[in-house]
Symmetry: C2
Subunit: 469 residues, 2 copies
């Protein structure tokens, strides 16, 4: 695939098992969950930071572009190599250090999975609070590069809140050893936060010191049927300020989502009542007895309100699993039903009802060849608009309609200061829309920052923003 | 004071009540709690973002340097105008918007005090979790510019975790409207986090959307006497992972601190036992009954351990106030005793006992003209080393000894990857030591970032790093 001098030098620098060059392997590593077709010159799989330094120095010397790569579970194309770049996969850098219980942190290499971290720190009664559907595959380096969210954001916030230290390598081959395990270090600009969410365009994250929290032990899960979206948001605003429990998750889905999960995945729902929306609310208590009392009191209160028309508490871990299976089965059940377009966006919580009403009124005034499946993280203002093609519609009509829908959705988001990307970043897929969420002044600063870290523009080129002329 | 064309243009641009030019006023606004002598050409006191834009554009045009200024409670000199700069005080920008209960946020102008925010949001059962001794004077703009900490960091973390959106004005007069009230917006580099902690060197913060949390309602405060520092850290590591309560504060002080507070401020301590260290631990529960049980159980457990030799629970709000007055009176009581040097540093929690032992062994091998008063935030790894001059020592001997102590302390911090500044930033006072906490590669990136925002170097010049030649 060309550039023999570079590949010769690279293979003489790296041990043989650190380099893949077959077309099959290159093609696999060049793409992610977006399935955008990729093309890579080779795949480097270093095991140590020093190897990452050597690889990046060589890329700088030969002016070869590099795409850093983790679990490749992204949905914006941030890890796709489209133009024959070198894929630099961190997946073999999966060492984890001992848990520091007093400092509540753990040092890990970038290639460990989210789930591996959870399992590693659990015996110390601690957890890393980022919890994702893809946790078995997604890696820490990728989580940090995209500032991942997940189902616990309502309580814990995004990934960037849970990183104490970072080690990263620049295109010049320099190691930035940022902050290590200090909780307080106010000596200049926070480069850690600049690298988090930068989608591998500034430096390659090789290690991180993750901030841990006490592992939730007393947790209760409820399922609620609600007849009204604005009231559902009111319910959230009141519940989140109540003492008696901490809300760990506040997820919603429409009746269409529930019906599809029940049918396609043959799952049962404890609530038999029909309702436009359902909520899955998970609560943490400090001891099990008072948690139970406090949750039951709350449920009694809201069931008397008129807009929560039914509710159930998970009485066993099997119940809890079943409740979550309804929420977590949505993506799979829709995928089993036909072609889908997904829009994972965000808006201020108190503007969410208005946004959804606007989307629904737009849909009702058109005769689109798809159905809307609406679900997401209510507490974060993060709805997922999924479009499922009508079974008899043509692929062309679906594409055309989805494009129209997308433009309108992004326009609505722009008007209410929402974001076109709540998760997964900009990558390749959302680049054309970045000006809807970022101003010209911000983009100018992005270019300057990019130039400061990567003056030759070799690191994950074309992601977030295109190189300046 | 010179530069008449600039001042003429400025006074024609601003309303008369927005500009101070008397020597007295200029001198007052040119310094902060460090008392470093300051000198300012004038003080501008805008009330709106558009006025800040006009002022900064004019400064760019006339190449006049600007020092942004808040409550001037900093202890590193970050708000000191030393060279006849224009002081841009945000103190009159003190409007607060309505509380958004569903989004758990509030929009405020940069000049409001921390305490005003707390009082504004309390009726909604919410709080902004940054709690500082200087909260009556310190402003939001200053808190953000220095990434302030305070007594609740062990539970909530630093200021940067509690900011959702930011409005800032660049030296070019452009308004950066960053993120507003979105909890998720993964579309590019996080300029909010870059501005937080940048000590007013990149842009002037004019407004912020602050992230709020439920206001703690069930709180218990305990005072413990502990006979051993490493065991005290073990105690923390175990307590922080216990369910039954959340730890809001975990503060420590030496017996010398306690004795001075009792003598100088005539305060009582419920614990009569003599012990090398004391702990003030504050805990939050979800309801008062279970909190009481859980705290009492814990106290019984640790009192049986052999290294917690006495303990008391605050039974009333008067008790609680009294417990806190012992911790919060330390700074005042030492100041009443003579000249003091203060070192507010940080280290990994699990290295704190070793650092303190090294400092004590250094002290014992010298015949210094001061006594060490040791206290601080144990849970954050943030000890405060205060040096009080011996009453009969000369100022010169004290200065000489303190300089020697400072070098050794910073050297020890460097060796254990600690930070020379846990709070207040680098400002003017810690600039010479910044290389102890930051590498050459980091500092090069700082310069590039500074150039991207402020190419003429007019914004708070000489803070954090000196301009490059």
């Amino acid at each position: 695939m060309g550039n023999t001098p570079f590949l010769d030098k690279l293979s003489s620098t790296l041990a043989a098992d650190r380099l893949l060059t077959s077309l099959d392997e290159c093609t696999t590593f060049a793409t992610d969950w977006t399935k955008i077709p990729g093309r890579a010159i080779a795949v480097a799989l270093p095991r140590a930071t020093a190897e990452v330094q050597n690889i990046l120095r060589l890329c700088s010397e030969f002016e070869v572009a590099v795409v850093p790569s983790g679990g490749r579970t992204g949905l914006a194309g941030g890890a796709v190599a489209k133009k024959g770049e070198l894929v630099l996969s961190l997946s073999r850098m999966n060492h984890m250090g001992p848990v520091d219980a007093a400092g509540r942190n753990v040092r890990v290499q970038a290639g460990v999975t989210t789930q591996a971290v959870h399992e590693h720190v659990a015996p110390a009664e601690l957890t890393w609070p980022i919890d994702l559907a893809s946790k078995g595959s997604s890696t820490i380096g990728g989580n940090l590069s995209t500032n991942a969210g997940g189902v616990r954001v309502v309580h814990y916030g995004m990934t960037r809140k849970w990183v104490t230290g970072l080690q990263a390598v620049t295109m010049q081959g320099e190691v930035l050893e940022l902050n290590q395990d200090l909780q307080k270090n106010n000596t200049g600009y926070d480069l850690i936060q600049l690298l988090i969410g930068s989608e591998g365009t500034l430096a390659v994250i090789t290690e991180a010191t993750l901030r841990l929290v006490r592992r939730p032990q007393h947790v209760m899960t409820t399922l609620l049927a609600v007849n009204n979206l604005p009231r559902m948001i009111e319910l959230f605003a009141n519940a989140i300020r109540k003492t008696g429990f901490d809300i760990l998750a506040f997820e919603f889905f429409s009746s269409r989502c529930l019906e599809t999960v029940k049918q396609k995945l043959n799952r049962q729902c404890r609530l038999s009542v029909q309702s436009p929306y359902y909520l899955l609310v998970e609560m943490e208590g400090q001891d099990s007895a008072s948690l139970k009392t406090n949750v039951e009191d709350w449920l009694e209160e809201i069931l008397g309100s008129g807009f929560v028309i039914d509710g159930a508490i998970a009485e066993s871990s099997a119940d809890k699993k079943q409740f979550w299976s309804l929420r977590e089965g949505i993506t799979e059940s829709i995928a089993l039903s036909g072609p889908v377009k997904k829009y994972d966006v965000s808006v201020s919580v108190n503007k969410m009802a208005a946004l959804i009403a606007d989307v629904e009124s737009f849909l009702s005034s058109h005769n689109f060849h798809f159905d809307l499946y609406l679900f997401g993280h209510l507490g974060d203002g993060s709805p997922h608009f999924n479009l499922l093609k009508h079974s008899k519609a043509s692929a062309e009509d679906f594409e055309k309609d989805a494009t129209l829908f997308e433009s309108r959705l992004f326009e609505l988001l722009k008007n209410c200061s929402g974001s076109i990307s709540a998760e997964h970043g900009v990558g390749l897929l959302k680049k054309d829309w970045v000006t809807f969420s970022r101003s010209a002044a911000e983009l100018r600063l992005y270019h300057s920052i990019k130039d400061a870290f990567d003056p030759k523009g070799l690191l994950n080129p074309g992601k977030i923003v295109d190189p300046q002329k």
